[in-house]
């Protein structure tokens, strides 16, 4: 590709853009998705039609979507940022008021065959919006309080709306994605230090107050927090899922039990085996070798994205790619921490692996935006 880049000084046009895509990321994403489809086939007990077929179809559609998004010049997406954000925001309000509540309290709006989850849309809308905001903002004003307040509101309002659904996992993801873009845009470290300090201080205060006269929460609320933080204290209730997930993971050992041989998932000891806990099945059937390889694949995807972001001299594009990559990373980090018993159970799927159509589409749209920024970078 270096050959073409030397020949063409300007941004590529037309079909030749395809040559300028970040193919490393596309190959890696395809590889991870293929592994995901394999695992869905396995957890269905060898029934390809149960989950794997649909996941493959969504992936194919998502890839087409990704290419379409990638082909559109990135400045178009920048101009759409406000509209996308507003639309998502309004839809979030509508869905909070009229939406359908279903599995895992995810809310959606039913448009016949299409199920719209505004919280999923908000993921890339927010990143787009913040990237556009910081592209527009004079970089000398980035750390001024008023100009910090705006992105804080842009992030926290949808976060609160999603939290009210209630969807703790997604709201956390929005918060972290927003923070990541703000961090990358150069907001002063002091803000982050201050927020971290306040959060830590509050948590400490709440826990210190326990058992004293000025206790800040009710006893039952404390107990709820206890099981949230340490599920093994309640092995048949909240702790059951995480214990079974750890057993699945650990019993995989070095090289695993073999494809479709995972007893924990096949015999249904694993909860949510096709969604949030799909990694346990992979780890059980392919062992440390398989699980670690997947982790490396993810790291490479993020790595290539970060390289692309840092090489891009357009501020909007850089921030957009960092936002997409950070969002992707947070999903992986929170999901794996949860599955491996390092973090409390919050409903966060493993990107490209967990069964779920809209999550897959949103991730691929995200990569589409990243590719668009990559293809249309200034040369």
């Amino acid at each position: 590709m270096a050959f073409f880049e030397n020949r063409l000084k300007q941004a590529p046009t037309g079909i030749r853009k395809v040559l300028y895509l970040n193919w490393q990321v596309i190959v890696l994403v395809t590889a991870v998705s293929a592994v995901g489809i394999l695992m869905l086939w396995s957890v269905a007990g060898g029934d390809f039609n149960l989950w794997a077929r649909r996941q493959a179809q969504v992936f194919a559609a998502g890839m087409v979507l990704m290419f379409m998004v990638a082909m559109v010049p990135v400045w178009f997406w920048r101009s759409m940022a406000g509209i996308a954000y507003l639309t998502s925001f309004v839809l979030l309000i509508i869905v909070d008021l009229y939406g359908v509540v279903g599995m895992g309290a995810q809310r959606w709006i039913d448009f016949g065959p299409l199920r719209l989850q505004p919280s999923e849309m908000m993921k890339f809308s927010l990143v787009l919006m913040l990237a556009a905001y910081y592209d527009w903002l004079d970089i000398r004003k980035v750390s001024r309080p008023l100009w910090v307040l705006i992105p804080v509101l842009l992030t926290s309002l949808p976060t609160v709306l999603v939290l009210m659904q209630p969807n703790l996992g997604t709201s956390l993801m929005l918060l972290m994605a927003g923070a990541a873009v703000m961090f990358a845009a150069g907001v002063s470290y002091w803000y982050f230090a201050a927020v971290t300090g306040v959060v830590v201080g509050t948590v400490v205060a709440v826990f210190q107050s326990r058992g004293t006269e000025w206790q800040l929460l009710h006893d039952y609320q404390f107990r709820r927090i206890d099981t949230f933080l340490d599920p093994s204290a309640d092995p048949l209730g909240a702790g059951y899922n995480i214990i079974q997930a750890k057993i699945a993971l650990g019993s995989g050992g070095w090289s695993g039990k073999g494809f479709m041989q995972g007893t924990q998932s096949r015999l249904n000891y694993l909860p949510e085996k096709q969604t949030d806990f799909i990694f346990s099945t992979l780890a059980e059937e392919f062992g440390f070798v398989g699980a670690f390889s997947l982790l490396i694949l993810y790291a490479l995807i993020i790595g290539f994205c970060m390289i692309s972001a840092l090489q891009n001299r357009d501020r909007f594009s850089s921030l957009l790619i960092i936002g997409v990559a950070a969002n992707f990373f947070f999903y992986i980090a929170v999901n794996l921490s949860m599955v491996m018993g390092m973090a409390p159970v919050v409903g966060v799927p493993l990107p490209l692996m967990s069964y779920g159509g809209s999550a897959m589409l949103v991730i691929l749209v995200g990569f589409g935006l990243m590719q668009s920024a990559h293809v249309h970078r200034p040369r």
Binding site: G253, N268, F288
Partner: protein, 648 residues
Amino acid sequence: MRRTQKDAEDSARSITRRGLLLGGGMTAMVAALGVRMRYLQVDQAEEFKLLAEENRISIELIPPGRGLIQDRNGKLIAGNEQNYRVVITREDAGDVDRVMHRLAGLIPMTAEELDQTLADVKKNAAHVKVVVKDRLDWDDFSKVAINAPALPGVIPEVGLSRIYPRGYDFAHIVGYVGAVSQKDLDEQEDPDPILRLPKFQIGKIGTERWMEKVLRGRAGTRQVEKNAFGRVMRELGREEGVAGGDIRLTIDADLQNFAQARLGSESAAVVVMDVRNGDLLCCASAPSFNPNLFVRGISHTDYASLTENDHRPLANKAVSGAYPPGSTFKMVTALAALDSGAIDLGHKVRCPGYLEFGGRRFHCWSRGGHGTLSLTQSLQKSCDVYYYDIAQKVGIDKMAEMGRRLGLGGRHELPMSAIVPGTMPDRAWKQESYGQDWRIGDTINASIGQGYVLASPLQLAVMTARIASGRAVEPRLVRMIDGKEIAAPEPASLGIDERHLAAMRQGMWDVVNSQAGTARSARIVDPTMILAGKTGTSQVRNISAAERSQGVIRNEQLPWRRRDHALYVGYAPYDNPRYAVAVIIEHGGGGSTVAAPVARDVILAALAGGRPPLAAYPSDQRGRIESMLKDLPLRDPETGALTKSDQA
């Protein structure tokens, strides 16, 4: 927006710096995840592998087949029948209500049963099998099987359940099994886990209970893989159990059946014992009951009708009934007197019809008296006064000792329920039981088997066998376990002078065969089967002096409960003793007229190994006997099926 060159460079530098920081943080996190992965999957792998195995593998018990109980010739007494039942699982049924209503149209089910089953099905987990109907007959069972396509989730199943094909005949000996109760579990130190299986049956009474260890066998195990909902996915391994041991009793099923039928509706018992080795060939108690009712769970009304019956069908009178032995005890008194040297074989007593003692008059059954009698004549005519006389000379303690040597006053250990020890009283016993001194009147009463003396028909049969053989034969009920003969030890000699025993046997021969014998009408004329015996009639009421002066009321005029017990003990053949027999007919009247004929029929059946041969009866009785035998409700000797109506 358009930026100055400097701003663009600042922006790029800032983003590069922040991006590298972010990338560093991400890398650190990825490293942490990798370390955690290694810790779980490499360092702790063994522990988690174990937990995963514990999760999925569970061990199930396979119930062993219960051992069979057979008669001495291998005829089936207790077996296992296939129990046809229908079970349903909710997850396969789909619309449970529709399927159940369809099923109710096929097999007999009350609306109540239907509702109960539906409630059960809905209460249990979706994969759990719920028994819809137990003990279906083949027709209904096959109806369900044929309609299987229309009945999703309904499974016709075959299990095993205890069956007693010769129900009534062996109810008292073999007993029955039933579902394991909490009480059964409490009784055992470390209950076999198999007892906790649903529908598992345990011996409740009789041989079923006392030989439970042999009959139960050992459970097999099945390693199965179970999913999180407890549903069995596949079998991983299996260790076969050991079926219960088969038991062969000493009882002859045909003889038992004959005896049971012969006793009919009387409240009675008969025991036949082999005098050489103690084998119990027959141990019948009437009336009897159907043990199969108990296996299935007896209904309240059925149970009430058994407990309220004044003939006590649930009691095993042969071993649990303790009766005053009456005149059948006279051999014990005589042997005690002879053995102690109180009298010799030539001892004679004059009977005036009573004996005056200490101002009290002890009556002989014959008001006119028997005149002067020898020892053998006293037995032949069953004179009471003779025994009053010799009992005073020998004393109760010697009598009791002889009684115990002959098998009275102590339990004979057999795998049957509620075996009583009876009572063989002596001075110490009365002091202990009543805190009173023994009085001479007690001795006089005891000399003719009245008063405190109590014995079961089993004990009387043992006594007779010991007199006939001169050896300390012990009764036994089990002949073989799992095809292996149980050795019967050669019985030791009783240590009683053979001449004394011979005198008893002579007296017993006279009772049955001499012109003046009390049981002459119940003699056997076949010279190879000559019967010797002793009758007994034991009072269950006191006869007042006033009644005696006006003439004792005849039994037939008394209410059933107050009539005398009729007893008989005997053995045959006289010259080569083979079988001893003891019979009691509660409130039956006289031993000679009621009990002796039963004993003769049963011992003839034992000797002949089938129906009693008519030629063995005195010719003038044959017509009557023939028609009586023809009317007996006997079972088919091969199948055990009743050929006439059941005695229920």
